[in-house]
């Protein structure tokens, strides 16, 4: 750097200080004509001004970060535990309109039926022979027995479900066509699932997974029928 260069920079410093004093106000939109005028003459201050304007501009356009997927799961769990989510929505029902209130006691009936289904499926069957055979040997064998007990035809079960289905059939004509079609698809799918699970349970009495799916399918069918009866009864 030459002496001449140094000589030219020194007198500019006072003007640079003046520039700095007005800089914050200028960046906030204040009327500071001296700031811009000085930046046009001083390459050093011009750089400062350009940098700060660019930082300000880019800050407005920073990319947004995606939170971890577990964040919603955690929030949802809290909302459910605190009762803020008042009625957890089954997946199959999310695409159906929600009734404003329960106009009938159908949900209670469905719940009772549900308990009956679960109890009948999980408690060992009427065969004492099976029960003694499966309970033999180990403490806690009751649970094992319950989980592998064969499913036999149960008149109460089939009658309850038949009654619900019959009630639904008598009311389905009152449903809107799109709602009715949705229920029909859902029930057909559940019937297929029940049929398939029952077949596996018969073929493999020890298949606990098939039994769990079967119980769940019955539960869901009871819920669907109860929901359909709510709509039909409105």
């Amino acid at each position: 750097m030459s002496d001449q260069d140094n000589e030219t920079t020194v007198p500019e410093r006072a003007a640079c200080r003046e520039f700095e004093r007005g800089l914050a106000s200028y960046l906030e939109g204040g009327a500071e004509p001296s700031v811009l005028a000085h930046a046009k003459q001083c390459p050093y201050c011009a750089v400062i001004l350009a940098d700060l304007e660019q930082i300000r501009f880019v800050s407005h356009h920073l990319p947004q970060e995606e939170p971890p997927a577990r964040l919603w799961a955690n929030i949802r769990a809290h909302l459910e535990a605190e009762g803020i989510i008042r009625e957890p929505v089954p997946a199959w029902r999310r695409w159906l309109p929600r009734p404003a209130f329960f106009p009938s006691s159908a949900p209670l009936g469905a719940l009772a039926a549900l308990a009956l289904f679960a109890a009948t499926l999980l408690v060992p069957g009427r065969s004492m022979e099976n029960r003694s055979r499966l309970n033999a040997g180990t403490a806690g064998g009751g649970m094992v027995a319950a989980s592998v007990a064969p499913i036999g035809p149960d008149e109460n079960l089939t009658r309850t479900l038949s009654e619900m289905e019959e009630a639904y059939r008598s009311r389905e004509s009152s449903l809107e066509p799109t709602i009715k079609a949705a229920y029909q698809r859902s029930l057909a799918s559940l019937d297929a699932c029940i049929h398939e699970c029952s077949r596996h349970c018969e073929m493999e009495p020890g298949n606990t997974l098939a039994r769990q799916y079967l119980v769940r399918a019955y539960q869901t069918k009871a819920e669907v029928l109860a929901s359909a009866l709510e709509y039909g009864g409105r």
């Binding site: 880019v58 800050s59 964040l71 605190e82």
Partner: protein
Amino acid sequence: MSADRTPANKAVSETQLIARAQQGDEAAFEALFNTHKRRVYSLCLRMTGDTAEAEDLAQEAFLQLFRKISTFRGESAFTTWLHRLVVNVVLMHLRKKGLQQVSLDEPDGSREEPVKRDYGEDDHRLLGSVARIRLARAIESLPHGYRSVFILHDVEGYEHNEIAQIMNCSIGNSKSQLHKARLKLRELLREEAKNLAPEESELSGLDPER
């Protein structure tokens, strides 16, 4: 832009979602969460600079929002309400941690420290194009007091009077802290540019001092 993406339709849609959430509808809660999650999480992340803390704070903010949503009557924009809530959650957290490292009530000393410049050298522009990622990283390096004001004003678009209210300081101090934050960011970015290898800075668009 499709018809259902217009601001008016979006507002109607959000109003419907809020009404359903007020009835405890899970799907509405999830939709509201999905609409706002990125901005909320990003704000938490920038204010704290820590992903785990940001996740916890975003969770807390959404939980507070959903717990209070039944009281929302629509007098103010839902987004404004939400983001004010998020800011309060984050600031409360920072205060509890004692991380208000720069007092917002300290005298304005920005005018006492000259802006760093390199007389006698070619003082090229800091950045041909300020890389957003490096800027985001530099923001995380700011002291918390500077950082909060900078994020609220330059990133989130709050006005100084709003910041003063949120952070319980004067408007003048908010302006002063913002200017200091910008200057500090410039310093941080310049330091980083100096430390980059020439070929790296050339590739990344940086034009470091020589």
